[in-house]
Symmetry: C2
Subunit: 697 residues, 2 copies
Amino acid sequence: MLEMFTEPRGVAVIGASTSPEKLGYQVLHNIVQYGYAGAIYPVNPTAEEILGLRAYPSVLQTPDPVDLAVVLVPARIVPGVLDECGRRGLKGAVVISAGFREVGREGRALEQQLIDTARQYGMRVVGPNVLGIIDTVSKLNASFAAGMPRRGHIAFMSQSGALCTSVLDLALGQGIGFSRFYSIGNKADINELDLLQAWAEDPESNVVVGYLEGIADGPRFMQVARNITRRKPFVAIKSGTTSAGSRAVSSHTGTLAGSEKAYDAAFRQVGIVRAGSVQDLFDYAQAFARLPVPESDAVAIVTNAGGPGIMASDAVERAGLRLASLTPEIQQHLRAALPHAASVANPIDVLGDAPADRYALGIEGVLSDPNVGMVIVVLTPQTSTQIPETARVLGELARRYRKPTFAVFMGDQAIRPALSILAEHSVPNYQVPERAVAAMAAMWQHRQWLNTPPLAVETLDVDRKAVREILDGLRQDRRITAGDAEARGILEAYGIPLPKSRLARNADEAVAAAEAIGFPVVLKIASPDILHKTDIGGVKLNLTTASDVRDAFDLMMYRATRHMPEATIWGCQVQQMVKGGKEVIIGINRDPQFGPLLMFGLGGVYVEALKDVTFRVAPIDRREAHEMLGEIRAYSLLRGVRGERPSDLEGITDVLVRISELVSDFPEIVELDINPLLVFPAGQGVLGLDMRLALQA
Amino acid sequence: MLEMFTEPRGVAVIGASTSPEKLGYQVLHNIVQYGYAGAIYPVNPTAEEILGLRAYPSVLQTPDPVDLAVVLVPARIVPGVLDECGRRGLKGAVVISAGFREVGREGRALEQQLIDTARQYGMRVVGPNVLGIIDTVSKLNASFAAGMPRRGHIAFMSQSGALCTSVLDLALGQGIGFSRFYSIGNKADINELDLLQAWAEDPESNVVVGYLEGIADGPRFMQVARNITRRKPFVAIKSGTTSAGSRAVSSHTGTLAGSEKAYDAAFRQVGIVRAGSVQDLFDYAQAFARLPVPESDAVAIVTNAGGPGIMASDAVERAGLRLASLTPEIQQHLRAALPHAASVANPIDVLGDAPADRYALGIEGVLSDPNVGMVIVVLTPQTSTQIPETARVLGELARRYRKPTFAVFMGDQAIRPALSILAEHSVPNYQVPERAVAAMAAMWQHRQWLNTPPLAVETLDVDRKAVREILDGLRQDRRITAGDAEARGILEAYGIPLPKSRLARNADEAVAAAEAIGFPVVLKIASPDILHKTDIGGVKLNLTTASDVRDAFDLMMYRATRHMPEATIWGCQVQQMVKGGKEVIIGINRDPQFGPLLMFGLGGVYVEALKDVTFRVAPIDRREAHEMLGEIRAYSLLRGVRGERPSDLEGITDVLVRISELVSDFPEIVELDINPLLVFPAGQGVLGLDMRLALQA
């Protein structure tokens, strides 16, 4: 896929220049300089020759073969130039020129012309407004970058061209290699989805790395990402997500949700490893590009210094990985082989005077131990430390045992002789133990993702027609919030267990309802306008007699009309009084990017204060629903603490899956809270005690 | 202080060697090579001359002046050598030799001899088992380090000698300067406290940086640290604290406490900035060494690239700092001065083609804005970026405006020309925005500490004598847990509000007690052996009649003897039934390093599941008690949410201060839980509903 960019047989540089300070010269120079083997055609209306190559007045005059144009002319003539490219039969264009959507209305129109022209001829376009693209496999550097990265196995894309210049410069300095390096700018045509699809199939790329600012189509992005992450790791920075969203929300779920939560959930659900900075991004990418994915999270540490060994152990524990317990055989072996003062419990301390062969004993010991999944080798440059020799034995052993092995050679000048040796042997090196451990945690996250079964959303046997009718009724009445009765109807149609309940329009009806349901009962104000009923005394519990019910009804009517004279009041809901159970909340909120965002957490009136909640983009399957339960702090309460019986976890899971299906089936439901959902002991089910539901305005 | 190390008039190198591969040569070479101006005397039993200096067979023969010995002889003869040093009148020794406490019993005895000898002559000793000391002020490099760091304002100490070699090598590579650089090894004499006291007074050191593994004396450390942090920042790594402590604990507080929490609390209470890695340590240290402490946490960002600007904004928000809102005047000024496409809302985007003078406009704009406390200048190396020129204008403006200003010049080769210019102008540079922001957050933490009033522990009017008597009684009975009655007595003596309660040994007494207290009452099993009463049905609430009390008493006796036949049962506590209020927990646990660790958090049976707690080392003052309230997630519940009345925060604060005093007065109290402490609305106080208290075994 996208061969017009990866393997063009000829490239036309439209806007090539004879002045070395111009981009049109620099781009051509990069193409020529770094060994691209295809045909190169400078296109310039006046020049005869540039950089020793014959120049052409127009792309129309260029000879065969020519597949790709790199365009550097002013924005206003770009559409015309693309039209020529199309007529000449080119298959793709990299539009470096700026001055399109990013500069306002006029630019946006130009960008539309550009797209229309390209579509007309079936040409694919990278850009506009980009640094260019670099392909180390075909040695094509079609960019104005100040250098060419080494060939490697990292495929990189960035929505920020300026970031590309920094990343490239860092990569040149640190010897990081890339397979493909794409600046995707305004994404008029080629966007992150196209690249992800192409790179999923790309044998030259072991890991895909991206800097993302916005995502065009959340659900589609999830689908494509889910596919690539099954085949290779995808590490991404998503920036600009911390600020709270702007839409006014009234539900608990809406208050607690937001763009950051949605991205976090979506990325986790599709197996993307999220990086917090460019430093993390490349720390992780280098590990993924060079090392096999770990089979276990048990980490062994080999060090010639106690202090950094402890720091590595601390980092392992903080990252949620485990310190490996070595097998007794290996411990005995190390005890016999290493000096008396050495520590043979993990971390293995080979002592400050360790030469390379003593390191080798320790490293081979832990690599051969079946209890060990990953290894860190820490080296401080002490007087008798054999730095390049240690790098060599480490590299050879790491290659032999095929377990992910990380070097932490701590220093600068002193350890420099080791760096190229480590790189040759594909051992990534980190300046401090904490960065190596962060990369280990990223790899372990990817392993867990690979072990996760594929998403298997069920289609439940529910009454969609009933919900359709209720929602249509609400729309006819131009109501955007459902009352208790409608909300109950919708939830019941999807099999959510609810307590017995009836709407009473007056006190007599309330008493009759209570007698039918059976005492004790609960009375709740029924109004489409009152969202938080307890705030205005709109809930009365444990009414045991007919006269209690009558009094409560009248009082509630009086108070509601006094507090909220504008509110429509339908009466009261008379409900079965339910006792016991733990309170959880299940809700949804619509995210502008990803759609229905499902929330689960500790419920009750304190849900916003305690914020003990977790999120998923719907639809989810039963496995993900289960996973959600385990993610809240209060999970231990649900599992049962201090000899308490465990709660009905299956009941919660079932409601999560049903709500997921409901909101996927009916996109017009934009907010929904079931709070509290009462959870009884295992086998005794759950009951949705109170709920609110809002529709698209 | 410690002038024998910082300004010795002469240095004897005992164990100096003629072989370049020996430490005894390398240390002498370092002293000679780096410009130490005092007298240098190699001491060697056979050599005539080393490195062109006359050698002496013993320190006794060295001429005046000689203040300091650097000792490299084998461990077993070190005490004898120190005796000679003492007789010769030396004031200090740096014992580089290893083979002491770290190798077991024999070494420990040698180390004791070493200390005894030094004490006899009033000599101070650094070591043994160290890399040595480096003083860039007197240019004395009395170490076997492979280089000499630049002179700077960072004073560094490390308990790990090997870490010193790495840090030094990193510092050499990155041009980090130090004033003092001490490896303190076994800390036989000079320890972190001595250095902290000396460095507090040291005009050459702007910031003190330490790698700590263990602390000799927690309370003394806190006292010394509190003093230094008022004068200059103290940044520390404390490693080896994640693993849970080993002592078996039965209280909630004990379960939730631990060494990590104690260090965290202690460091925060004395204003130490904690670093998570060596990278963080020097990221922070360089900011502190070079920049003024910020006056506000409002951050302005100036950038030539959108992406990194967004990443910087994200980092600011995540770190709990604020993005500054520029004054309208400055915004107008920037709008007029910068190109149309530039963004003049924070982050200020001066655009990708910004030359140095456009950067200058943006930087001067934000630096002159009174709404701005700190500034980040992000630069990506684009085609027309003037890298060294931008560094220069940045440096000059930063110096002129005296606001902490951080550079993030993102790249490697391309930005190298800027590095020395930034360093000259004392502007720290960071590779990615996230690292600069972490350093900003560390500086802001220090500013907040400087703004904190000094600790002011009150002496409360409490009945110490009553507590002394109760504790003596328990000790006589050889009991290590107090029963309800004793615990109540102790808490009442310290003014902790408790519900009315009486011990009843039989059902008749229980009924009489209930009648005296007034119905309804609560019955609780009274036993020194039953810690979690609810687990065995040992609590019965809301008993409204005499016969209910009688039934409950008998049932409880029956059940307790059946479930725990070994337990001593004193009867039941009859207690006033209390309704309403929110549940919090206040407890203490003894930390082996720091003593009484006070906990506050959301209470009730779920305290361990929700872990919504915070810690302080006692004693605390009222301000710190207040601060604790604000640190739990559930604080918003206590402050009042959704129109609820605020809880009695003063009541909680008062109990915290009283418990702090109690456990400080009586160190034999090793565990104490008040759970729940019921908190009523403001003005209506608190009540300690249930409690447990354990004494030193």
